[in-house]
């Protein structure tokens, strides 16, 4: 796809300008470009799908559309080894913490693509009592692919948008920033206590 065929070039250009603000070191800049070239061409998806869009996601992987051409080939079932998560389908209240956990289990750098109306905004189920209206309430989303379900071509377009976005990022300077041990312990403790407090499960007991 030629550069002009993408429709939102201004956005990417603004992003590049922002990132390159203040200039870059030549050596580091070159290394950066090399690394990001590698990353953008080797994005491995997590095999994750909740509903209809998942089938289209499989179709993107299958013979006719074949996302292996772009390097998305190796769909990993373990979140540790995946680079991005395609949130293909509705995310419900019960699923949201699981999805968050999956995202947390992934290794940096990681990206999120919201596929389909449900993941973008809740879609046709926006008014339901059990549906999260938009996965961006739970995770930071990099690319949105609308549709119900989006056509495989649309998914490929979205995936290529992600590639472009990854390409302009910088490795040296924050993406891989890890949190310190203490901060980590603190976060974990908070998680565990939240787990205990929130479960008011044994509400009612024997009654006549």
């Amino acid at each position: 796809m030629s550069y002009g065929d993408f429709n939102d070039n201004e956005y990417i250009e603004r992003m590049i300008a922002e990132l390159r603000d203040g200039g870059t070191n030549v050596l580091v800049g070159c290394l950066d470009e090399l690394i990001e070239w590698g990353r953008s061409n080797s994005l491995w998806p997590l095999t994750f799908a909740t509903s209809c869009c998942g089938i289209e996601f499989m179709a993107v992987g299958a013979a006719r559309y074949d996302f292996a051409r772009f390097g998305f080939e190796v769909a990993r079932a373990s979140p540790r080894q995946a680079d991005f998560i395609m949130v293909a389908g509705t995310i419900t209240h019960k699923m949201a913490p699981v999805l968050k956990r999956l995202y947390d289990q992934m290794a940096d750098p990681k990206y999120v693509i919201a596929v389909g109306g449900c993941a973008v905004s809740g879609g046709p189920f926006k008014r339901s009592y059990h549906v999260v209206d938009g996965v961006d309430k739970v995770l930071p989303v990099d690319v949105y692919i609308p549709g119900c379900p989006p056509r495989p071509e649309a998914m490929l377009y979205g995936l290529m948008q992600l590639q472009r976005k990854v390409k302009v990022q910088r490795f040296f300077g924050g993406v891989n920033c890890q949190i310190g041990e203490e901060e980590y312990e603190e976060l974990l403790r908070r998680d565990l206590t939240a787990e205990k407090n929130d479960l008011n499960v044994e509400g009612e007991e024997k009654h006549e």
Partner: protein, 546 residues
């Protein structure tokens, strides 16, 4: 067709009133018996021994002032007789009803669903946990007075409990809560799902293992529960159609067909012959599409990755045909009340014929690549046996039931559209194992192609869409209509109060019975077999969770 069923019922009316004098017959739609709660279990047992061994559907209801209740659709598999019963309790604080899960195993998960939706507790049910929602969910969403503000999005992780509550009736009329242990402390429990490549979506199992052998299995649903039934209560009838496609997305046309049939039945509308033909052909194309995907996914689960791509390659050809006419690849939104969205594409007939000519040799290729393979046969044959009795008791329809020898095809039992006029064979096996389930579906592709061949040249001229008002009001009463979906009986239960939107809409999930019988099938097999069993049961999770 509908009248015929009612006349059958009238013979039963006398019988049932003789067994239970307090049972009241009410007309309105399909008509149903109202049975008081304390006598219900006995009557149900009586009906079961009279041959009503198939619990088609179990629907929880909130009748407001009248209280909470459950509607049961029963069928006798031997005679094909149908009866609809309901029982209710006026208590709104702590509603309690007798459980029938000792009679029909299908009731087990369905009663949990009713508890989840309405908070009705079933006495003597061994496992009264919520089915879809989180354990810490406040209130019961399908009650008419439910307030959604009670449940903001909770991001804390859910802890799975190792025991389940059960309620037992005491001699003095009160009942006590007991604890039913699911998993002992020292059991090796592994968690499969919700994100797992072999669960076909977001189903979750907790499996207790001994080495590689499965000792116990506890399915958890609800990770894709979207509350479609509740949403339908706020939508007008034409609007509800959009949601059915997203239940079992591999049976989108069939699901919508069922809902359209149910609404048309309520309205008393008869659609044109042309529409019937088009709907039948579309249903069968969809079935081929679904079964090809089944083949592909089963092969992938079993590790034969190349066959997966073959299945998908050919599925694209079906999708091309569907897309040309309906405009949708996966979700077609094609059927409408009183007809179909658009007339068939001029190339439709030619392309369909070409596809059938193309598909026949490909099926042989599939058999060469996968069916004939020694490893595939070893893995599938004899594993995961479901007996005919269990299949009926669980209500496991579709390919699963037919592999066990139960002739459960709705197209034969209650012919709809033009299925009464076409000549096709109901594929039956008796083994009930994974291989039989696999073969049923492969043979059904051939049968579907036969059906299409008989119809494709004879599509009559006529209207493809009746003139309908934008706002539809269905006469008061309850209606049930079912089609043979890609993986079993897909039914729609509709209760109307004469408004522009349904009072209660329930979809008989094709997948829920399959999940229910999973425990029975998988116990004692190995983990690898669980994957094969899950693959051959061929459930679609959004259809289970709705």
């Amino acid at each position: 067709m509908w009248k015929e069923k009612r006349s059958m019922n009238s013979n039963l009316i006398d019988k049932i009133t003789a067994w239970e004098p307090r049972a009241v017959w009410t007309e309105g739609g399909d008509g149903m018996f109202t049975v008081p709660a304390d006598g219900f279990h006995d009557l149900a047992g009586r009906l079961l021994s009279e041959g009503f061994d198939f619990l088609r559907s179990l629907t929880g209801m909130d009748w407001g002032e009248a209280g909470f209740g459950v509607v049961y659709h029963l069928e006798a598999t031997a005679t094909g007789e149908n009866v609809v019963l309901r029982t209710l309790t006026e208590e709104r604080e702590h509603p309690v009803l007798p459980s029938v899960c000792d009679l029909w195993k299908a009731a087990e998960l369905n009663e949990r669903e009713v508890f989840d939706y309405f908070g009705v507790r079933f006495l003597n049910h061994p496992d009264m946990r919520r089915l879809f929602l989180r354990d810490d969910w406040v209130g019961y969403p399908l009650r008419k007075d439910y307030d959604p503000a009670q449940n903001p999005l909770r991001m804390s992780n859910e802890v799975s409990k190792d025991s389940s509550p059960t309620y037992e009736l005491q001699s003095d009329g009160s009942y006590i809560r007991k604890r039913n242990v699911l998993f002992e402390e020292d059991e090796y429990v592994i968690n499969i799902g919700p994100q797992h490549p072999a669960t076909h979506g977001v189903l979750r199992f907790r499996v207790s293992l001994e080495g590689e052998i499965i000792k116990k299995l506890d399915p958890h649903c609800g990770y894709i529960h979207r509350g479609i039934e509740k949403m339908c209560e706020e939508l007008t009838y034409p609007q509800t159609l959009a949601l059915t496609d997203r239940l079992d997305y591999l049976g989108a046309t069939q699901n919508r067909h069922a809902l359209c049939m149910c609404i048309e039945k309520g309205l008393g509308v008869e659609v044109s012959e042309r529409v019937q033909y088009i709907r039948t052909i579309m249903d069968e194309l969809q079935r081929i599409d679904s079964h090809l995907l089944f083949f592909a996914c089963l092969c992938m689960d079993m590790g034969a990755l190349t066959a997966f791509f073959y299945g998908f390659r050919d599925r694209e050809k079906v999708l091309d045909i569907l897309e040309q006419t309906t405009g949708g690849r996966l979700i077609q939104t094609y059927n409408t009340i009183g007809g179909v969205q658009a007339d068939i594409h001029p190339d439709f007939v030619r392309k369909t014929k070409e596809f059938i000519a193309y598909m026949r040799p490909k099926l042989r290729e599939y058999h060469e690549v996968f069916t004939g393979n020694v490893i595939a046969q070893e893995r599938l044959k004899g594993t995961g046996v479901l007996t005919r009795e269990d299949a009926i008791s669980f209500g496991a329809t579709g390919g699963t039931g037919r592999a066990a020898g139960w002739a459960c095809d709705v197209r034969k039992r209650h012919p709809y559209a033009v299925y009464g006029k076409v000549d096709f064979e109901e594929v039956l096996f008796t083994e009930g194992d994974c291989f039989a389930r696999y073969m049923v579906r492969m043979k059904e592709i051939e049968q579907s192609m036969n059906i299409i061949e008989q119809l494709i040249d004879n599509i009559p001229e006529g209207e493809y869409q009746l003139k309908m008002k934008p706002v539809i009001r269905i006469p008061e009463g309850s209606y049930y209509a079912a089609v043979e979906g890609s993986r079993g009986e897909f039914g729609v239960f509709l209760e109307s109060r004469g408004d522009k939107s349904p009072y209660r809409m329930k979809f008989r999930s094709t997948g829920l019975p399959l999940v229910a019988c999973l425990e029975t099938i998988a116990r004692g097999t190995k983990i690898a077999d669980l994957i094969a069993i899950g693959g051959t049961l061929d459930y679609v999770v959004p259809d289970i969770d709705r």
